[in-house]
Amino acid sequence: HKHKHKHKHKHKHTSTTMESAKPEKEKKPKKDIVIPPKKPKLSKAERRALQESQRAAKAEAADGGNASKKSSQLQQQSSPSDGNEANEKKNGNGNGNGNGASSDENMEGSSRNDTLTFFSHLPPYKDHRKIKDFSGVKLSSSSNSNLHPAVHALGLQYADGSIRGANSRCKAMFKTFQKVIQDYTLPLDTKKDYRQDLENRVLKPSFTYWTTKCRIHSVTMGNAFTFLKLAVANLGRDMVLEDVKSILCEGMDAYIHERIDFADVAICKYGSSKIMNGDVILTYAKNELIQMLLSNLDREKKKIRVILVDSRPLLEGKDMLQELMDAGVECTYILLNSLSYVMKEVTKVFLGASALMSDGSVLSRVGTATVAMMARSHNVPVLVCCETFKISNRVQLESITGNELGDPDDLMPPSLSLEEWKSSRGEHLRLVNLLYDLTPNEFVSGIVTEMGILPPTSVAVLLREMNPQDSGFKEEEF
């Protein structure tokens, strides 16, 4: 220990003498010192949150055996779990979080420790029933009670899954923000910059509330929110409030129309140019864009068959199946298990995306990567339909680092009731209900965007052209 300390000191000394003009050098981690886990970087609020979660665990130890397991686990695996918890908070923070809210997050979400430590960096599933209780007692931090009621309403819809899907969540967010901005009043202190006030008092807390209390935000919501913040920052300092409101609302409408609605029309045009008469198209789960593409084909010239693959527990494909059948498309419906059986008939695969990484890998509903891999092994081309506003400047190498955990109880077999399920599980069963997965860019033949069909390697170029504010290397902070 002492030796290390001396060594560190020596290094610092030499670097300062050699490069006195470059203070950044000292920040770089030294090669021979093990980089410690995030533990020392806990801020005061985070340390408090950690204490509170441990306290909550101890409180639940009075109720049942489960929580005692958790608290003992917490004590046993001291540094890794602290590191993990801190990571969890860090990730929770990095994913759009104010510092003060993390304490509430832990108390509401982690009533049981069902997930593997493998996934413990992901925020645990938040039970939406706990959010519904609006009595003032539950909403512990005062900032939440200042939120517009529309924000609470939307948050509920996010949490219980009534609004699902990258596009829907983004559109709903902008609709709500339009309402909020219409009801905005200037701060009492007239010296305050209204733009800062709008962003820090109204917009950011709403976004933080949704992300931390309801459901973690999607990449689309993140990109749209960045756009909104930029729009606010670009407003003139001395603008009339009415003008501000109309500019912002029109800007949001324009964003939705151009980047989503019109983009969808263009994507359908490019996508349908790749569909030939007699094709057998395979698609997975539910995607409004693919649904639009397949329903609006000129059925005189292009007679196709659609194979719809679905999977538990969400079974989102059922809605899509109904819509396609109503549109008169000939459909076959299978579950993911029979995929290898039908793949030899398939001529093309069309998939939707929740987000597009800048190396061309696709983040989408869990199971998409399986479909793409299977198609690749049968030499079936895979086309991913994705608007450019879904491009994230992140690069993810696999599905684990950036994912979302759903309700573990959804994995319950349909034959059991909830009570039977809970009692039969025992202490050794861990449940992991992942919602997303990452399809590597090797499995993707082409990405259909409103700019045309592109190879996955060109997504970075698109990011530069279409989302210039995102392509710079800067930390995301909400």
């Binding site: 086309l383 082409g446 060109s458 170029v461 052209e465």
Partner: protein, 307 residues
């Protein structure tokens, strides 16, 4: 200005439909019109951009005419630029494999022959004997050339050091469309670890995105039925080795007279495809007048060219 654009568009469409007409296919030398189409589209794009910059009609016209002249100069100069960068890839004593007749590849190899000593293996190139034509050119330029059957491609692949081909068109994902047989050559080269280079000018970059072989634009639809390659080898490519009579199909009697001639009955279908699509993953590098590009850089260039 819009009027001019409309007329040019009509003119290019006229040219393309002419090229598409099976009766005219022999004028194109049996090759595809992709380069023609992409060249026209690029020029039209330039006109639109020019009009936006110079609203005055006369200035714009002058600019366009000079650009048009530059365009033709560029395509000739492009060949030289490609040859200048490309010849560095040929080491002394190398054996180069090539396919079909490409003026770009020929100029590259002939210029390289001035600096280094190497030999060339050419595939015969049925049904238009393009390979034979290429071999003739190489021999005249003093490069030792060997001609082998198209089917002997994989057989010779282990002997060669690198493969260089031209392209009819370069598509958006970095793949190429070239004379049929290029795809097979690319697969064999990848399997045996030989680098596969493509020499193509930038005006050949087309806004196509083929997903597989059947996704190619239909090239000269009637040509397939027109060129009956079973006959061609006997009469046209080999200089009438088997006899000087011109015959289409024929009956049983001719098989006695002409050794090696097989006349096919009506119900046997003949599919004579001109071009195939080589996906980007088999291509090592593209030698273009914009520089040496990896296949994934093609899309970036296309986005810039067609912006």
């Amino acid at each position: 200005m819009m009027g001019l654009e409309m007329e040019l568009k009509k003119a290019s469409e006229e040219m393309l439909s002419f090229a598409n007409d099976p009766l005219n296919s022999h004028m194109l030398g049996g090759r595809s019109h992709i380069a023609l189409a992409s060249g026209c589209e690029l020029f039209l794009k330039y006109i639109t951009r020019c009009f936006l910059e110079l609203p005055d009609f006369n200035e714009c016209m002058a600019q366009i005419l000079s650009r048009g002249q530059r365009f033709s100069d560029i395509s000739l100069a492009a060949r030289d630029r490609i040859a200048a960068t490309g010849k560095a890839f040929i080491q002394p004593g190398a054996r180069v494999l090539t396919h079909g007749w490409s003026s770009v590849v020929s100029s590259l190899l002939i210029q390289a022959a001035e600096d280094t000593h190497f030999e060339v293996i050419v595939l015969e190139g049925r049904p238009d004997a393009s390979g034979a034509k290429a071999a003739k050119n190489f021999a005249r330029a003093g490069i030792p050339a060997t001609v082998v059957l198209d089917s002997a491609m994989a057989y010779v692949m282990e002997r060669v050091d690198l493969v260089i081909v031209g392209a009819e068109g370069v598509v958006e994902n970095g793949g190429i469309i070239n004379k049929v047989g290029t795809y097979a050559m690319a697969i064999a080269a990848k399997e045996l670890g030989k680098p596969f280079y493509v020499a193509a000018e930038s005006f050949k970059f087309a806004r196509l995105y083929p997903l597989n072989q059947s996704d190619l634009p239909v090239l000269g639809k009637g040509v397939a039925e027109h060129l009956n390659f079973v006959d061609t080898a006997c009469w046209l490519s080999t200089g009438g080795m088997v006899g000087s009579r011109q015959k289409n199909g024929g009956d049983e009697k001719d098989e006695e007279h002409v050794p090696g001639l097989v006349s096919l009955p009506e119900d046997v279908k003949v599919e004579n495809v001109l071009c195939d699509y080589t996906p980007a993953k088999y291509i090592t590098l593209l030698l273009t007048d914009l520089g040496v590009l990896t296949p994934s850089a093609v899309s970036d260039e296309l986005i810039r060219l067609y912006q």
